[in-house]
């Protein structure tokens, strides 16, 4: 087990913490991790450790594991940095989360980049088994050749599958396909005290629900089986429908939901008066074929794979490009494209992963100070109150809003999962003093509106706000402690929210 000191920076630019990083290339690493913790807890071997809490009664561990975790390890020559190694670990995928979920002070981040292989695939059953470090882009490239598709995906192709499961992310089709947990048939979780455990909605269900949306705090997700969806081609048709009054947004999203495969909206929050929040709704449909050659779509994918969006380089500009004037110009130009309504075809890759290539500059334009994304899910009945609240807050704290966007949500809020019935609404703005004041008001507003902020998108969210918005906050904490009384898996996010 090779562990090195490292300074981590959150993707939104907020958090700089010293931790440790382990860069394993082999499954043998998890053996070594088990031995390390066995040594730390009085030379007790993992096999003898049993499974406390939830695990003691309900967890079924795998005796012989094809991944080799139960094989005798070869640690003789492994350079273990025992002096500095803190017995707290967390998984790290692409490191693109806005919040510091994959690192923490003195926490060892386990890099899953090398665990990125496709292990099994059945076109007939529409199932694929992959290691958690596989990127969505690599997965897309494989599946599109078989006219299949992972229904729930966030907006960047370098995000890993493990990075989708741990925060239970959503896509632009949450209203019909749910969140990431709905796409997971089963997964293998590693925990030094329990070995490798297979979890699914039918086996170790409670731990499955705790892990999908558990922010990596139950262990290392090693691999998973994902359910797939058929698609007719690698093209999508997008229709832009102008929206003049933001109050009409919920009805318009509902109307689009019947005929679209994915929907999201764009709004201009920098204009005042009756035009505040005007914009357009983007309705996307998978189509049989398109005018754009397949080769061009492939070339686009390859280009995207070479992009170097990283937390470490996002804040390269010492000063922000975004200011009231530049944001007003950007929004006027972007808003114009949807003002009259139009339809166009685009590659499915571009529609699934809109944040790539030149659009990555968006993040860099915030400069070194970074940015905030405030994303909430609000019951439809309170949407008007929420928007009115933002409008008033922006009058007191004048800030250029670089992005305002909504999606339609459906589901039941449980544990710390970001879901529920209503409208998912996000705004972006630059970090700063005024932004902090605005965020404090928004925290109170979302509590008043019976909404919930997205934990994985907000690196400064407090435990009080999370506890107020997530009724099962205490249940999550107690289940986590039941499974892992020592709380081996830690992160800045976990510490901040007292998880």
């Amino acid at each position: 087990m090779q562990v090195q000191p490292r300074q981590f920076i959150s993707f939104d630019g907020s958090t700089r913490l010293n931790g440790f990083e382990a860069k394993p290339e082999h499954y043998r690493y998890f053996d070594e991790l088990s031995n390390k913790f066995a040594d730390a807890s009085g030379k007790r071997s993992r096999q003898d450790a049993g499974a406390p809490g939830i695990a003691a009664e309900h967890v079924q561990t795998t005796d012989t594991c094809e991944n080799g975790a139960n094989r005798k390890s070869d640690t003789k020559n492994a350079p273990i940095d025992s002096e500095n190694f803190n017995p707290a670990v967390i998984s790290r995928g692409a490191g693109l989360s806005y919040a510091a979920a994959s690192f923490g002070e003195k926490v060892c981040s386990v890099d899953h980049a090398q665990f990125n292989r496709i292990l099994n695939f059945s076109k007939e059953q529409k199932l694929i088994e992959v290691e958690a470090g596989i990127s969505l882009g690599k997965l897309y490239d494989f599946l599109i050749e078989h006219d299949l598709f992972l229904a729930t995906q966030p907006g960047h192709p370098r995000i890993t599958v493990g990075g989708c499961i741990a925060p239970d992310i959503h896509g632009k089709n949450q209203f019909m396909d749910g969140t990431c947990i709905n796409q997971v048939e089963s997964l293998k979780l590693f925990h030094p005290s329990h070995g490798i455990i297979e979890l699914s909605p039918h086996s170790n269900e409670e731990l499955f629900r705790l892990t999908c949306g558990g922010y990596g705090l139950t262990g290392n997700i090693i691999s998973c089986k994902l359910k797939l969806k058929s698609i007719p081609s690698n093209m999508a048709e997008v229709t832009l429908r102008p929206l003049n009054r933001i109050e009409e947004l919920p009805a318009m999203l509902r109307a689009s939901a019947d005929k679209a495969d994915f929907i999201y909206s764009w709004h201009d929050f920098n204009v005042r008066g009756k035009d505040f929040g005007k914009g357009f709704v983007q309705e996307g449909r998978f189509i049989e074929s398109g005018s754009r050659p397949a080769e061009q779509a492939t070339a686009t994918r390859k280009k995207a794979a070479d992009q170097t969006l990283k937390a470490e380089t996002r804040g390269g500009l010492p000063f922000p490009i975004f200011n009231p004037l530049s944001v007003a110009i950007m929004n006027a130009l972007y808003g114009a494209k949807g003002a009259n309504g139009s339809s166009f075809e685009m590659s499915l890759f571009d529609s699934v992963f809109p944040i790539q290539n030149v659009k990555e500059l968006y993040f860099k334009f915030f400069g070194a100070a970074g940015f905030h994304e405030y994303q909430v899910v609000i019951p439809e009945s309170n949407f008007g109150t929420y928007i009115e609240g933002i409008r008033h807050a922006l009058k007191r704290h004048s800030l250029p809003i670089t992005l305002a966007s909504a999606k339609l949500f459906s589901g039941k809020r449980d544990l710390l999962r970001f879901t529920g019935d209503g409208i998912c609404f996000a705004i972006n703005f630059a970090r700063g003093e005024e932004a902090s004041k605005l965020l404090k008001e928004l925290d109170q507003l979302v509590i008043r509106c019976d909404g919930a902020p997205n934990i994985i998108k907000d690196s400064r969210l407090s435990k009080e706000v999370v506890a107020a918005c997530y009724p099962e906050y205490d249940l999550f904490r107690s289940q986590l402690r039941q499974f892992d009384p020592k709380r081996i898996y830690q992160s800045e996010l976990a510490e901040r929210l007292a998880l």
């Binding site: 090779q2 090195q4 000191p5 490292r6 990083e21 860069k23 394993p24 290339e25 082999h26 499954y27 043998r28 094809e66 991944n67 080799g68 094989r71 020559n77 350079p79 090398q114 292989r117 496709i118 292990l119 099994n120 695939f121 290691e131 494989f142």
Partner: protein, 244 residues
């Protein structure tokens, strides 16, 4: 082609296996870790639709390990070429190692490679064609107070590759030797390096693009040619004072 990649479970070996499968070569992957080999083989087979066999063997100069390789290689038929992107080094290689450790370093970096080559060479000579790609290290350019056995083994490998090239010069057997600089792998992870580390994926691209070229020695990344040239001609009076 039917190719053997020895040391295929990590770093350059894994990147090469991926790149070769992309070029539709059938592969036998050899490494010590069966779990990783299974995962790599499944991945390559599914993504590139090529035949991928695996042998969980730590290659060394003994009949037992060679026979394990041969048993798996028979599934591919004739072997057209072998690539040896493997290496084994340790931080305490300072001239005081015991026999077991010395044997492991010499076997992994030279003796095992020579043994496998020696088995396949007669068949290649009979066909008059084949491919043998060896990988050395810039650490072996000049002997230093660290990596002592490792550098000796790699220099021995370089001599073996040169001899093979000489022996096969009248045939279509292509013998290539890459002298590798720093690569971004677990071996270099966290180390402060005086020169940038190349990505294994880029190295694999370069190597696969040049599989048909006939050259004796190639440095990768290219700038190491000049660094090594300088090192080689550094006078002993100066060299003995260098700490690296």
């Amino acid at each position: 082609m039917n190719l053997i990649v020895v040391g295929a479970s990590a770093g350059l070996g894994r990147a090469l296996a991926d790149r070769l499968a992309q070029e539709k070569h059938n592969l036998l992957l050899i490494a010590g870790d069966e779990a990783d080999l299974k995962a790599i083989s499944a991945d390559l087979n599914l993504r590139h639709s090529v035949q991928v066999e695996i042998a969980a063997v730590r290659l060394q100069c003994d009949q037992n390990s060679i026979e394990k390789v041969l048993a798996k290689a028979s599934a591919l038929g004739n072997i057209d070429g072998i690539l040896f992107p493997l290496g084994y080094s340790r931080t305490d290689d300072d001239g005081t190692l015991g026999c077991d450790d010395i044997n492991r370093i010499v076997n992994s970096n030279m003796a095992g490679i020579i043994a496998l080559c020696s088995h396949y060479l007669p068949a290649m000579l009979q066909r008059g064609e084949g491919l043998l790609v060896f990988f050395g290290s810039v650490a072996s350019e000049r002997g230093r107070s660290s990596n002592i056995v490792y550098a000796a083994a790699k220099r021995g490998l370089q001599s073996f590759a040169e001899s093979l090239r000489h022996k096969c010069s009248a045939t279509n057997i292509n013998v290539q030797y890459y002298q590798l600089g720093y690569l971004n792998t677990a071996q270099t992870f966290g180390k402060k390096l005086p020169f940038p580390a190349a990505e294994p994926k880029d190295a694999a691209d370069y190597i696969v693009r040049n599989l048909n070229k006939r050259f004796g020695l190639e440095y990768y990344p290219w700038f190491w040619r000049f660094i090594c040239l300088g090192l080689r001609y550094t006078p002993w009076m100066v060299f003995k004072k260098l700490k690296f």
